[in-house]
Subunit: 369 residues, 3 copies
């Protein structure tokens, strides 16, 4: 085959162009950086930690250390590059910290929230306010949780909440999403519901299971319209594994711990393990009413009574007939149970009243160890 | 570089050819669709649910609700696109349903088999017959199970069986398979063996583990000849996780919940979690005798006694010498234990006598809750 | 477009060149094979199994069957293709075998180490020496463990150690690594610490968790310098699952059971399950002090007391200030705790004194079943 070569100049003149080119690139880069810096907002939030009592299941109330008095904690929604400051006031009777799970904390490790490693132990003392400052370097689904006595505070006292960091450069998949769902999965040990400072030992057994701290039937439907593209942000917040099974739809495993996979793959059962924050994409193209639940069978019960635990139902608005035998007939709908409404509100910190606990009565204010 | 452009006609004549082309494609497409529809068989099956007693381990008999009186239930083998009708007659003393796990049920959600969500609760009453109708849209390894009180019926009463949907357009990998193996993994709580209506609470602990409802040594070998390409269809049917380890061979993780991965990858230990139905491909190129077992150590015991539980042995027919110390010396071979024979019989529903239970005596016919 | 075809000679002369070419290739291939064979070293090792008592946690000593008297066992480091001979002398009071986990044992299945399947049961009797011989066909992170009564010997008596097989043809990723870390994860049942022949039943519950057989604070830091490329070789050696979470860094999941993935993907939490031997790559570009721990909350405790269990801390040598509240202030550093020093020593078998147990006193020498 005929080979054709282009001719390039190889004289001194070339270096002049090269230098010019480098200069132009440098100026443009600096310019873009300044724009970026201008876009990187400074966001400042206040959170408290409260001792309250939440209703997990119809027959289970639980004493928790609750961020802003709610479980899960408030949504923090920021953009990649944002500089975030959070002032945390501990209104409980025990020390706590906040670890910002998934964040790199580049050159900023003292804000990582681990007592005895990145900040003095035992953590933020009762009555104290502590300030964390970090940059949202990594995009995607993140979360925060206490790092003091994690086997109690994080595992069974509800000390966790979601963070969503919108990417600077959203992918086509990011942009295709029409509805955001945040699902924090965890479990509870009913034996220790009333007494702070107890539970969470390796020999203690969880007997209640929840999505966003509620067990079925206190959970809420995922209500969609045909054509919706759902992004479910699964967060393994407790100590249990959860094998979430979607009826009628595949889930595209697309993001692992924030970052998009090169080749997403479809499944109908996804293993959500503690610490993971993996997202799936679901194309809502199958009108009807479909259950979605933890397939580890005891996890779809309340202490052994089925149905319960980590169950929700996907309801298509165009196909949800009023069958008198439907378990959620007449159910009062909370559109923000999976943070879908909060996610529409732009950037900020968003409380949700339905997650708030009730004040502790003297009867239920116990403390162990 | 020299640019070479071809010349295309841009006159009105072109549109005539274009229209003709479109018409021809349309006719061909319609023709293929009709052929497809002609190929999409209508298949009608009857199943019953029986109360019987199966032998799980040498020292464990178990009361089960058994599809066609056997555990696992009969194999349903159909082709993608087939229209399937199943009449289920409940001959037990408690209500049940059947969920067709992995199927989309497009515009057909009332056949999804979930009591109180897609059909009236509590399900198919004792003595009643109920008919499910669905189309096998998604290809691959699927399964069915009861969706009433799943923590008892599906978890410890054996209410599950396999479905294989052959793809309309098999891949090269599909076509390379010479031997099909279906392995349904589950666990048992010996304490509740005798009493229907009990067990499966989060605090109850499994102490027996099985492949296709048998614990070693009551399981069977996977007997292969050198050169075989094995497809193992793992189904997580119970509440336990299983880390299946293959000695002497890698397993190519190739299908997730029915669908082929773009880039299969080899492992020697695969995590089978509840609800998952993932297939691996194994090239049988290593003559000998190799154990294959659950690497979660207690799962390869019968109530703590090793060897037991979820263990099988791969036996090459060209290399399985009669060592007098071989644990399966003189073992009576059942070639259909992993459904390999049934899978050769074309489409239909296939019972297997060796999975059948014995009638319940009065002594063992208890009922709790 | 203009089609250009090159002209090839199609006469008889071509066949002569072809034959000559084939001959040359054959000679070169044989030559390379001989070189390879010359490079494939024969390596011969001796190991003993000893009954000793190791310190797992500050409040937990444990009776173990220890390879060379240590837990984990000595590192075996060889090159792909090497022929390995291991003479094992059983100085304990119970029978054992060694299974070489991950190795193919092509045409060599009798060296697979499974009692009753590949060698006579019940295994190597007390006082006996047994010789295993195998070729390191598969490259990557491997391990060895006893296959007798795995639910006791492997699960809670420490009968496991690491093997690293350097690939014949290292990848760019392989070559980029500057520091090797081997992390064997397992768990312990304190109730059975003193009595051989007990524990490991499905109903027994683990209450201590460890990296390389030590629970925090007896574990050691992973000490790195900025710019290091870390390869962590995770091995699921016990019966528990571990969700290892790295603070401040992503982990590139790059190797599954020895073999490199085509498309590694980053996570910050990786599920290590029993039997798995998966490696991650970490770019150490974030100076500071970062905890790395099992995110299954009770696993980061010692019998419920946090912090404990499967916790380590990544310490950058350029940024580890002497905060008086740092939990590991003044910690005596063992640079070989994660085998990083042994991995630098070339090929061989490497003991490590810090892993050795103490002789059993009469008081602690019990035997059950």
């Amino acid at each position: 085959m005929q080979a054709v070569q282009s001719t390039h100049p190889h004289g001194h003149g070339k270096h002049i162009y090269r230098s010019l080119f480098v200069a132009v690139v440098a100026v443009l880069t600096l310019g873009l950086l300044s724009v970026n810096q201008a876009l990187a907002a400074k966001r400042e939030f206040n959170m408290t930690i409260e001792e309250v009592r939440i209703q997990v299941a119809p027959d289970l109330k639980y004493n928790v250390f609750a961020f802003d008095g709610q479980v899960p904690g408030p949504l923090i929604h920021v953009k990649q590059g944002d500089e975030v400051t959070v002032h945390v006031t501990n209104n409980t009777s025990l020390p706590h910290t906040i670890h910002w799970h998934g964040f790199y904390q580049t050159d900023n490790w003292r804000n990582d929230g681990v007592p005895g490693v990145t900040q003095p132990g035992p953590g933020i003392q009762p009555g104290d306010t502590y300030t964390y400052h970090w940059i949202a370097e990594k995009p995607g689904t993140m979360w925060y949780h206490c790092h003091v006595n994690v086997n109690e505070h994080a595992e069974i006292r509800g000390m966790w909440g979601p963070i969503v960091v919108d990417p600077k450069h959203p992918s086509e998949l990011d942009k295709s999403v029409t509805k955001d769902v945040i699902m924090m999965l965890s479990s509870w040990e009913s034996k220790f519901a009333d007494k702070f400072g107890t539970g969470g030992k390796p020999t203690d057994v969880a007997d209640y299971f929840s999505m966003n701290a509620k067990s079925f039937p206190l959970t809420q439907p995922i209500r969609v319209k045909k054509g919706d593209v759902l992004r479910i942000r699964f967060i393994g917040a407790g100590e249990s594994l959860h094998a979430i099974h979607s009826h009628g739809h595949d889930m595209l495993v697309a993001y692992k711990d924030g970052l998009q996979l090169k080749d997403p793959y479809p499944v109908d059962t996804v293993l959500v393990y503690p610490g993971s924050h993996n997202d799936v994409i679901m194309h809502m193209n199958n009108s009807g009413r479909f259950i979605m639940h933890d397939h580890i069978d005891p996890h779809s019960t309340n202490n052994g009574k089925y149905p319960g635990g980590a169950i929700t139902i996907i309801e298509y608005t165009d196909s949800n007939p009023k069958d008198d035998w439907y378990v959620w007939n007449g159910k009062k709908y909370d559109p923000d149970f999976f943070y879908s409404e909060s996610m529409k509100k732009g950037y900020g910190l968003f409380d949700h009243d339905a997650f708030k606990g009730e004040p502790l009565t003297r009867r239920h204010h116990h403390r162990g160890r």
